[in-house]
């Protein structure tokens, strides 16, 4: 019973989070023209390769999860 209750609370919280934060924020970002996933092909560019930031893959960065 307690487990069922806590599952319900979690589900409601996740629903609210999605409805109140994720969905409006996502919609707003898209209205402002943000397209982080670059969802459509772009005929104008010559290449879709993205240069790698060399700081990211450096050996001393391996201690972090990001």
């Amino acid at each position: 019973m307690r487990r069922l209750l806590s599952n319900t609370v979690v589900s409601v919280a996740i629903g609210l989070l999605f409805l109140v934060v994720v969905a409006p924020l996502g919609l707003m970002m898209r209205v402002c023209g943000r397209d982080r996933l670059r969802q459509r092909p772009d005929k104008a560019v010559a290449s879709y390769w993205i240069p790698y930031d060399p700081r990211r893959g450096a050996g001393d960065r391996m201690t972090t999860q990001s």
Binding site: S11, R36, L37, R38, S47, Y52, R56, A58, M62
Partner: protein
């Protein structure tokens, strides 16, 4: 210095141990847990690696996880933002999972490690490599090259789905990448799902199905789904896919474009499915060749290394080789995520600890890929006796002679020898062998031994010395990662009536001197066998050649459909008793099916979920 690499929590968990840069052991968790594609923490594989080295966990200097959880979470959040309010369902499944464990991977790993070695501050010894850095490291640091261009392609890691790196000595510089959701692996997976196969394991089936079809849809794919630039870089049009936020791979627009819903699993295969398979295979080859050609032209590199799941597409690999832009090509045999464990360990050793490479081996650092558990003869005998097996131990010449005789009598032979292979392929350590000259062998093995679809061809093992006499290839292909044609003089012309046969009926016609390993397009997925890495398998092929003139055997993995490949002698015996394998050769032990206690027979046919 001991470094342990771990891949886990997505699919194909594995552990790999290196000491001072040398690979000591590597194995996938599924082989121990007997759960195909087991994604849990690889506790058994880890314990095995330590046992192989004869050390306790606290002697390990670094434990390296093969990707970066925070970057992956960022990608997840960005994806939800990009698709909301679509995607609530997957948000509801993913978020609790992330909040509960994945986001706290470091803590989770620390806890798992502390359970095994409580007195160590694991937080200080834990390292994280990027997913594609792990793949690239597994491809370059295990290769026989001092310098190479390194291309990795898979479904997705954190953000990257494709990456290019430059390796030289102990340095490996990541140069550029293509980001999620634009992924060659996911595009192939979309067609795998659409043609009714399971994503992450059915991709081989699509590749095997492709030669039956015509690439009628290739242009449709290039015109609509994927935009490929001249340098091979690409973007997918997300209107046609549903994997970002939805619960399936393809969207209604995809189904409309190709004229119908996905094939239901286990529904009959139609010519249309074959054409779809041929089309996605053709497009994949086109993209991969554009990538490798541009990389060759731009970098001037003589050597190319590949890893990532897409590098298991051995048909595409064969085309890169024949395209001739690179002098040499080396592909990490554990190219999928399991190999990330090995790459993570190698990356930490060379990039974090800045240790130099070992002197280069003439072949590579993988030791034939025989990096898993091995069993001494006494142990094999003891274990077999415990499960009630009846066997005869023989000296090697008699053992090889008896095995060859069984093969010539068209028996399916289980071959359990030496250390288990790391990665998805069986390479003569945990294999089922057959006579490739037999026209019935392909069908027999598929339907009566492996219990799998009859359209799937088998792969040949061939003596390295003889490969050019039988195939259009004169290179090392020790890991079964290159597809090439059957040599012209070994091919048989088909009659007009035979040529007119369609689809799978065509596979049953003998199209060469070795029909069991000849696909409908006269291609074969070749494993060259080398005396240096597997002397006993080499000796068996030599014996078979001496008696038949043919240095080739059918080699398929030692399992039935849906079952992980055998690891222990008991696994091998169980599979032997549960299928129509007629002879089992385990170490020096020779087992005949008819000599076994009938009460030990198992019904294996429906024991495993279809893969």
């Amino acid at each position: 210095m001991y470094i342990l690499g771990i891949s886990a929590f997505y699919h194909d968990s594995a552990a790999a141990l290196i000491t001072d840069g040398r690979i000591v052991a590597a194995a996938q968790e599924e082989r121990f847990s007997r759960k195909k594609h087991d994604a849990g923490f690889p506790a058994n594989a880890l314990r095995y690696c330590l046992d192989e080295a004869g050390i306790a966990l606290d002697a390990v200097d670094h434990v390296v996880f093969y990707d970066k959880p925070f970057l992956k979470f960022e990608r997840l959040v960005e994806t939800f933002l990009a698709f909301a309010p679509h995607g609530f369902h997957s948000f509801r499944t993913a978020l609790p999972l992330w909040l509960k464990e994945k986001l706290f991977q470091k803590r989770l790993l620390r806890r798992e490690l502390e359970a095994l070695a409580p007195d160590v501050d694991w937080g200080a010894r834990l390292l994280f490599t990027e997913h594609h850095q792990s793949h690239a490291a597994s491809a370059f640091f295990a290769s026989p090259f001092d310098e190479a261009a390194v291309l990795t392609m898979d479904g997705v890691g954190e953000w990257a789905t494709t990456s290019l790196a430059h390796g030289r000595g102990n340095a490996l510089d990541m140069l550029r990448e293509i980001h999620f959701p634009h992924s060659l692996g996911l595009l192939y997976a979309a067609f795998t799902a659409y043609t009714g196969f399971r994503v992450n394991s059915g991709e081989y089936k699509v590749m095997g199905l492709a030669p039956y079809g015509e690439p009628r849809y290739a242009q449709t794919i290039l015109d609509n789904l994927i935009d490929v630039k001249p340098d091979g870089s690409f973007r997918l049009d997300q209107r046609y896919f549903d994997y970002c936020a939805g619960s399936s791979m393809t969207s209604p627009a995809f189904h409309a474009l190709f004229g119908g819903p996905p094939r239901a699993p286990e529904a009959p295969l139609t010519p249309r499915d074959m054409d779809l398979a041929a089309s996605i295979q053709a497009v994949t080859e086109e993209v991969v060749l554009r990538l490798t050609r541009a990389i060759a032209a731009e970098t001037g590199a003589k050597n190319l290394c590949l890893a990532g799941g897409v590098a298991l597409n051995c048909v595409a690999n064969g085309k890169i080789l024949r395209d001739g832009r690179f002098e040499r090509l080396w592909i990490q045999p554990a190219a999928g995520d399991a190999g990330g464990a090995l790459g993570a360990a190698l990356a930490a050793y060379h990039l974090h600890r800045k240790a130099p490479r070992l002197p280069l081996n003439t072949m590579d650092a993988m030791q034939g890929c025989y990096l898993g558990p091995g069993f001494a003869q006494a142990e094999i005998e003891g274990r077999l006796a415990t499960v009630g097996a009846r066997f005869e131990a023989m000296p090697e010449p008699d053992l090889l002679d008896a095995t060859t005789t069984a093969l010539i009598a068209e028996k399916a032979v289980g071959w359990f020898q030496g250390r288990m292979e790391f990665g998805p392929r069986a390479l003569g350590g945990r294999s089922i062998l057959g006579d490739p000259r037999s026209a019935a062998m392909q069908k027999t093995l598929n339907l009566r031994v492996k219990y799998r679809e009859s359209f799937r061809p088998f792969a040949p093992s061939v003596l390295r010395e003889d490969v050019a006499d039988w195939f259009d290839l004169d290179e090392d292909s020790p890991y079964m990662l290159l597809v090439a044609g059957i040599a012209a003089e070994r091919r048989l012309a088909m009659t007009e009536a035979e040529s007119a046969l369609f689809g799978i009926d065509k596979l049953n016609i003998a199209r060469s001197d070795i029909p069991a390993v000849t696909h409908v397009d006269y291609s074969a997925r070749i494993q060259t066998v080398h005396r240096e890495t597997n002397p006993r398998y080499h000796a068996l092929l030599s014996d078979f050649k001496a008696k038949t003139g043919c240095p080739v055997l059918v080699n398929t993995s030692f399992n039935v459909r849906g079952e992980p490949i055998a690891c222990t002698p008991e696994d091998a015996f169980r599979c032997f008793m549960g299928s129509e394998i007629e002879v089992l050769v385990a170490g020096d032990c020779f087992l005949r099916k008819e000599a076994q206690n009938p009460a030990l027979k198992l019904d294996y046919r429906d024991r495993f979920d279809p893969d």
